[in-house]
Symmetry: C2
Subunit: 310 residues, 2 copies
């Protein structure tokens, strides 16, 4: 069960509780008086959890790790009393001296990036149902194919043990669409300009080397060349050329995926690219107003009308 | 430029340097004597970087944050002198009091998980060319379609504002294959057993709600039912039923992606699933001995022979 499951299980119980208002928690007796600045200020989320941003806590001013531990311990007891299922702690990097105190009370890292980290503690019953963090890096390669000459753009990396012909490509930047990565990387590596046409294949690999223990999703796109002059990156590539597609499909000197995609392109070249392409469409998300890109086999006109997608 | 670019740019220069052996760095004079336990022990990587695991540092025993800062500062000077392009600091959660010292010298979080964090400092020229961490969460839904009755398994989430019919699914667990997520989630949500048949569509969305600022890759698989009795999770689902596919393709009460995939399934049901499927094959990776799963349009027999993939 992932995030959705987590969301569903706690939505209702959260709504039955104290609403969305801020909640102060801290060391206080049963007959608690007015809340003061010595308390941690937590914010409820709609899943029954509570979030504390250490950057926004007046109570922490000048506090050492031991005093913070007492404050946090009291807060945890209060959250448990109130039936919270999870606590989230957002820690600016310069307040990291407080992390070990939180860890001694059971908090663990959920994620960290740049100048802050986020820790979590599960307070609900059974095993934690908190959603995990990103699990995949995304790499994209571009197969730039010129239908008129039957040639495809391939490179040999400079620094691999075996010099295999492959399509130029690398990791996506954060927030970058698949097709944009392919076009950008092809240009940076080879100097050739191109346009996105379709998605051809997807590879999923776990514990990928260089992915810091995470999984890798590697996608190959079909691109249409807009220029043909090669001016390749000498640091990255040993060779770069426009190679006859059938030669690439038959050479031993390539990776299994490159050869497989060469076979797909050959099929598309002879029988029509609609046989191999996943076409792309941009659509609005239902709730958020954001847009996403959807890839699948092209539907014939008659079925588009059926499903109201044209 | 991503990890691959990083790898390529520094591979050669790294090979020209001191090799793979461990390297001790620390405060020392120009006429340095024997190295001692007051130094940080770094390990070179093949990209010209140096990694320090704080858990393996005898020099840190009993050291406070200020003394650690002096030690690290001297080490950074030494690494710069030796031409290292990057430093990596691996910090056990209980040593997190040292993080702020590292941050004051320019280190930032690269990532953190469970009981440790990793910080980086770029020492090379220009902007950092260090590879990022995982950028995507992966969600999977299963479209369980019974060709003989033309019915497809759909659910309504209990807790959404609008009760839309959709395919059961949720986030992948770390290291889980796409098809396994689909089969597992369908069973957990509906009680129906199924088998993976193909990949139908891929959606990429950035800044996805609930993804902690990261991107979301959402894949829909076609599954073959192995059982038909519905026993759905009351916490997660409001309704669950086998719905006529054409009804799903025409209803207003569904998401755009569900309707789109219903159209695809209708097309496959009438014209053959080879028209809509991306088939899956497991293949060995070239260098690592690991296996990966590759998805693309099925190649006709004649093209498989051409490209030696059968």
């Amino acid at each position: 069960m992932g995030w959705l499951g987590y969301a569903c299980c706690f939505w209702r119980s959260a709504l039955l509780r104290a609403g969305r208002a801020g909640l102060r928690v801290g060391p206080r007796t049963a007959s608690s008086g007015p809340r003061d600045a010595s308390e941690l200020k937590g914010e409820l989320d709609r899943f029954g959890g509570v979030s504390v941003h250490l950057a926004r806590q007046p109570a922490l001013h000048g506090l050492d790790a031991t005093a913070f531990r007492r404050l946090l311990q009291a807060a945890i007891q209060q959250w448990q009393f109130e039936g919270r299922v999870a606590a989230w702690l957002h820690v600016p990097i310069l307040q990291s001296h407080l992390i070990a105190s939180a860890a001694s009370l059971g908090f663990r890292f959920h994620h960290a990036e740049s100048d802050s980290s986020t820790l979590t503690l599960w307070l609900g019953e059974g095993a934690s149902r908190l959603p995990g963090y990103a699990t995949h890096q995304v790499g994209v390669a571009g197969a730039v194919f010129d239908d008129s000459t039957r040639k495809v753009l391939v490179v040999q990396d400079r620094n691999k043990l075996k010099n295999m012909w492959k399509f130029p490509g690398a990791l996506s930047e954060p927030g970058e669409d698949i097709g944009d990565t392919a076009v950008r990387e092809v240009f940076e590596e080879t100097g050739v300009k191109s346009e996105f046409r379709s998605l051809l294949s997807i590879r999923q690999q776990h514990q990928s080397p260089g992915a810091f223990g995470k999984s890798d999703m590697y996608l190959i796109c079909r691109l249409q060349p807009c220029s043909f002059t090669i001016n390749f990156c000498q640091q990255e590539c040993l060779k770069c050329e426009w190679m006859d597609l059938e030669k690439l499909a038959r050479t031993e000197n390539t990776t299994p995926i490159t050869r497989r995609v060469a076979g797909l392109l050959l099929y598309g070249h002879r029988e029509g690219f609609d046989k191999i392409d996943l076409s792309m469409e941009e659509l609005p998300a239902v709730y958020t107003g954001l847009f996403y890109k959807l890839y699948h086999r092209e539907l014939p006109e008659s079925y588009r009308a059926t499903t109201g997608t044209d």
